[in-house]
């Protein structure tokens, strides 16, 4: 199928083992059809930057005129971005912001905002004191670091009365369960949990809380407040049941939609400027390009049934 502006768009998916990215991957072909993007078969770099580099080489070798990627390790693609710039191939990155090398557009929600939102929610619910466990993602991932740093900063400045236990889980459910269990043993008075990724942390957290008899409604004094990130359907389900209290919905559908939108625009030679957009977001200027910061709403019991949330659209 020939797109309007002509020119194929290559896309690399970052990993195949998280629910968030799997939803994103499902949206991509669907929305590409809607937007009439001439999309090449997707490659998958399986969370390995070496594979990503190889995949991009293959995509450009096969004639891609623009590339969409989601580098989980944002440093190691500097050379690749340089090469693509030399070849005049514009790049749209999803979810992460490369620190070096030219990008046409970064499509992501503000991960620091996730950390801040989670911190504010927990801080308020706990009344500014008590203990909170933070199940962190991989320390080497920029998103994990952004969330952790923002959470840490916000807690320090706004809720100095709260003690935070940072647990490095490497995005592994098993580690998360063990660490949370151990920490609850040591500090039975932990009152809040912040999970960096609902996809991997949700079920283990619920199991541990259940085992400890802490999986009780929010009005029970034993309730542990849980805030998650991602916005997958299972988190919404848990919010409805009162098992967890909130999540930040990272918009998988918008990621796919605007990645494709900007890639097509790039092929067609369009340009953008910093400022507000027509889809409730803001484009900001980066040293090496632009970034469209998509909205990432906090979902609580109040708005969990909102049809617009991507987690309510997947079947």
């Amino acid at each position: 199928s020939e797109g309007s502006g002509g020119g194929k768009v290559g896309i690399d998916h970052p990993r195949a083992d998280s629910d968030f990215w799997n939803s994103y991957m499902k949206y991509v072909p669907q929305i590409a059809g809607e937007l009439k993007v001439d999309l090449m078969p997707a490659t998958n770099s399986q969370n390995d930057v070496t594979k990503l580099v190889n995949n991009v080489q293959a995509l450009t070798g096969q004639g891609a005129k623009a590339v969409i990627m989601a580098p989980q390790d944002t440093g190691a693609i500097a050379t690749t971005l340089q090469t693509l710039e030399n070849k005049k191939i514009p790049v749209v990155t999803v979810d992460t912001r490369p620190d070096k090398g030219k990008v046409y557009m970064v499509v992501r929600a503000d991960n620091r905002a996730y950390g801040t939102k989670a911190c504010e929610f927990l801080g308020e619910k706990l009344g500014g004191k008590g203990k909170v466990v933070e199940l962190m993602g991989a320390l080497s991932s920029i998103n994990g670091r952004d969330r952790a740093e923002a959470f840490r900063e916000c807690m320090k400045t706004k809720f100095p009365g709260i003690t935070v236990f940072e647990e490095p889980t490497e995005w592994e459910g098993s580690k998360a369960a063990s660490m949370l269990q151990t920490r609850l043993e040591q500090n039975p008075d932990v009152k809040g949990v912040y999970m960096h990724a609902g996809g991997v942390h949700l079920a283990p957290t619920l199991q541990v809380l259940k085992q400890k008899g802490l999986l009780v409604p929010p009005d029970d004094p034993k309730h542990v407040f849980v805030v998650s990130n991602d916005g997958i359907p299972q988190e919404f389900e848990a919010i409805r049941k009162g098992e967890i209290d909130a999540t930040v919905s990272q918009p998988a559908d918008l990621y796919a939609r605007y990645a494709l939108f900007y890639a097509k625009a790039a092929v067609e030679g369009k340009t953008f400027k910093p400022g507000a957009t027509d889809h409730d977001s803001t484009i900001i200027q980066l040293p090496n390009g632009l970034e469209d910061q998509l909205p990432a709403p906090l979902v609580t019991k109040d708005n969990v049934d909102d049809k617009n949330l991507w987690g309510n659209q997947v079947k």
Binding site: R15, A16, D17, S18, D19, W21, N22, M136, L139, F165, E166, E167, P168, W171, E172, G173, S174, A177, S178, M179, Q181, T182, R183, E185, Q186, G199, V200, L202, A203, P204, L206, Q207, K210, Q211, Q234
Partner: protein, 329 residues
Amino acid sequence: MTTLTAPTPRVRLARFRDLTLVPVILLLLVVGAFLDPTFLTAGNLTNVLQQQAAISLVVLAEAMILISGKFDLSLESTVGMAPAIAVMLVVPASAGGFGLGLPGMLVIPLCLLVGAAIGAFNGFLIIKFQLSAFIVTLAMLIIVHGLQLGPTEGKTLFQLPDSILYLGSAVWLGLPASIWIAAVLFAAGIAGLAYFRVGRSLYAIGGNADAARAAGIRVDRVLWGVFILGGMLAALAGILETGRLGAIGSNQGVGWIFMVFAAAVIGGVSMDGGKGTILGALTGVLVIGLVQNLLTLKGVSGFWQPVVYGAIILIALMISRVAGGKAQD
């Protein structure tokens, strides 16, 4: 005259070699108690045991396979794949299953069956086709994991039949069921390898397969059985882990195999076969579990944890080297 002088002291020492990690465990308990008041509480130690229950079954499986002179890396993938496939066979399509409508009761037998099938296939390639065990099971590690990723499309399975959750989360007589299960299986393993002919034949095969064959041991059959049993134990580990975590993520078990080998080897099981005991392997698991627990309790920075952790493995290794008195292989 053929007189063997001064015979016995080294024999007695050899028996204690299984237990070289016991002082390490005691040291960890004492040091841990000083470092953190929670450490030496019944609750925390129960947690450690529960956290190690699933991986300990894989260590049990690997120890048996190593003692019989073989190797299995693919166990770690079985831990995730066997329960995932079993669950997909019974849950409806809406919950991510194949929609076959099999009864939920079947999920545990199916899971064990999948584990057994993987073990049998490994055994076929290694024993009948005489391929290198290391590399066959390395390829199988990748393939088996792919056979989980493919059908699930990388998604986590959240809606699980109750029966698969039960074992990993039930409490029997005040202790988590998974601890009981691991304890019983380890007791069976210790007794089986110490007091039964089939268990002793693993040592003979691992020590000198030709001699074992000459002594009338059905080497191929026994090895095959060990691989199948190993696959089933890994599948059972997957069941316990699933129950503990409440869902089957796409990387359940991934990365375990390194810890499994570390536990077995610091516990005195030789990579060259024919040497080591199940009890030793168990002490290896406990050391690793206690170290992990202490690192968590003390909140050691995630960046430096690997260094502390690896260093402790090295130290345990040196202790068992010095106590054991022999070069390792």
